[in-house]
Amino acid sequence: MAQVKAYVRPMQGWWRRNPYFVRYMFREASSVFLAIYAFILLVGLARLAQGEAAYNAWLTALASPASVVFHWFALLTVGYHAYTWWQVAPKSAPDIRIGGRPLSQMVITAGGWLATLGASALIYVIVRWM
């Protein structure tokens, strides 16, 4: 092919050009909230090691409006992570066949959502009543 001055389009702003990509970036960004939450738990663990007074101070801080607002955002974004995680989980599974027919990807996704509900119910019951 003769020399042609081909034009290369820039990638800048690529994810803003399609709602699918916006949702993808939101999914990825949920990890920031998960990281901050893990850090909050780590701080709580440190306070727990320092004794009752320090731990109670941590609990008080959790009850502050700023903390509750943060946790609401964290719940939404990490909830979105959980939702999308099970949505894409079948892509990592091998091609499973049951009795000659391929296993529907929706089965794995639904199973995942049910597992989350089940684990959540179990943890709630244990923390609340046991």
């Binding site: 081909a6 034009y7 990638m11 690529w14 994810w15 399609n18 990592s92 599974a93 091609d95």
Partner: protein, 251 residues
Amino acid sequence: MAEPRTIKIEVLRYNPERDLEPHFQTFEVPFTPDTSVLQGLQYIKDHLDGSLTFRWSCRMAICGSCGKMVNGKPVLSCHTFLRDYYPKVRIEPLDHFPILRDLAIDQTDFVNNKLPSVKPYLMPKDEKPVSEGPFLQTPAQLQQYYQYSQCINCLLCYAACPQYGLNAKFTGPAALALLHRYNADSRDQGWEERAELLDAEEGVWGCTLVGYCSEVCPKQVDPAHAINQNKVNSAMDYFGLLKFLMPRGGA
């Protein structure tokens, strides 16, 4: 008979001999409920501007030639209809490829680099003479790779893949799906030959499971599934486990 409705088709134009940058040009094109986007482009070329350049061939979604970005989404233009975009539609060349002219992209990276790199041919354990007849395969064995063999190389998945757009060294959805197609074929024992590419950053590890490739594929090949199930295989291979599960005897 009533005047046919017209739709505004906004097309990206680029003449490498004249333009520094691409620019849009709008045409008024008559259409009916069954006019495809491709037919709209052909109307422009036949009646309004003969210089408009674009690829097409079969007009029936099997050759893979006519991929375009329509309102920002990668589609086969013969399989997409103007009635769904009235009153205005924007047509651009497939994303993530250099533009040669107007709507024609440079496909050489895929054809010359990506395709050969996955060794897309059967590598049986032992060569079998023609006199011994064909390799036999059960319907169940065929089902293991059949969907991945349906790829028409239309490149919509590459236009959909931001990782390929950000780094053209990434092998990309169609080529990796084809790699899996051969690894999953019972007649093939070449997974070790393909492992070097599979296990590299350019292989499955360049994928972040955006998943848009599988959304846009007109043949339901599901390249995201091909790539990501091989992340498991690649991880097992990393720890030397795959050799136990899949000796050179194959899948």
